[in-house]
Amino acid sequence: MSVYQRPVHLFWWLERRAYVLFVLRELSSVFVAWFVVFLLLLVNAISDGAASYQRFLDWSGQWWMVAINVLAMLFVLLHVVTWFGLAPRAMAIKVRGSRVPAKQIVAAHYLAWLVLSAAVAWLVVR
């Protein structure tokens, strides 16, 4: 019997908006990795001394570095929103026998995020 098999295009993820969003979400990991590189360069500069730290500041202040980091920030925020949004579907948490509503799980994630961010910011700029 001859059947018709629809071909899969190389850019299949352009077919639906949800697929595009999915691919962007997955690509956020590249910017997470970029952040690790950036952080390690900062750590290296700090441990090398004040002069080296100043060089890092000058380097990270160039317009193209700021542009890269703004782009990275957008992707990281996409990661945050999608990650927290999907979290309640991967975990079924029960308190005293009843399921915790998804909204509360998401809210707890954002709360933890705010508290941690505030703590880190305080530690850095204090």
Binding site: Y4, L86, A90
Partner: protein
């Protein structure tokens, strides 16, 4: 004056004649309570008897009339013509399945995969019939009821890019149905299902695109079921790495 007709652009594929589907247009009455399926039935009864499509219950229970409507996987019995007015409406077979003829797809792959996850209540020891049913509280039923709503319509497979790229992938509905039994308080078969579910063609191939859940007409959330099972399977594997298997208590889902 409101339009009284709407155009259906229906994908036609005649095996052995066409090399790929071609769209054919039909004018059907635009009636308020008519679903796409009613439009297709009108075509078959009045315009072109050679059109082939599957349907049975016409009320969203049997799961046979899944089609791609304007690019979206839909139950054609639950998708209304008026929602697409003024049209035209493009009706194609479900994506990701081989097309047998017109709107009819070959579902053998799903039918082979489904029994692999043993979607039935497994007991270590069957209790005698005289003892009656295995009882369950409403709270226990709540645990698995969402996943039991699946009608095997395969819209989720049609929306899943992983399934289109990797035909060996067990797929959303089969895994959700496995979870439906894993989470059932009467079931003792989670261990038997684990080899199939936790294989590379099982849960680990899923990348949580989430479209399976978005298109599910029954609110089953297969994507959620898969992620929950990933957490269960990963926790279990790591426990096994750390301590001998015999010491681990059987877990529910």
């Amino acid at each position: 004056m409101a339009a009284t007709e709407i155009t259906l652009e229906v994908a036609r594929y005649r095996p052995g004649v066409d090399s790929e589907p071609v769209l054919q247009s039909y004018q059907v009455p635009l009636r308020e309570h008519w679903a796409i399926l009613d439009g297709l039935t009108y075509v078959k009864d009045h315009l072109d008897g050679t059109l082939s499509f599957r349907w049975s219950c016409r009320m969203g229970i049997c799961g046979s009339c899944g089609m791609t409507v304007n690019g979206e996987p839909q139950l054609s019995c639950a998708t209304f013509l008026t929602d697409y007015a003024p049209g035209p409406i493009r009706v194609e077979p479900l994506h990701n399945f081989p097309v047998v003829r017109d709107l009819v797809v070959d579902i053998d792959d799903f039918m082979t995969k489904l029994p692999k996850v043993k979607p039935w209540v497994i007991r270590e020891v069957q209790s005698p019939i005289e003892e009656g049913e295995y009882l369950q509280t409403p709270e226990e039923m709540d645990e698995c009821q969402q996943f039991s709503m699946c009608i095997n319509c395969m819209l989720c497979y049609s929306a899943c890019p992983v399934y289109s790229l990797e035909p060996d992938f067990l797929g959303p509905a089969a895994i959700a149905l496995a979870q439906r039994y894993n989470l059932d308080s009467r079931d003792e078969g989670a261990d038997e299902r684990r080899d199939v579910l936790s294989s590379p063609e099982g849960i680990w191939a899923c990348t949580f695109v989430g479209e399976c859940s978005a298109v599910c007409p029954k609110g089953v959330d297969p994507a959620g079921a898969i992620q929950r099972y990933k957490l269960t399977a990963a926790t279990q594997s790591i426990k096994e790495l750390l301590m001998p298997r015999s010491l681990i208590p059987r877990s529910k889902g």
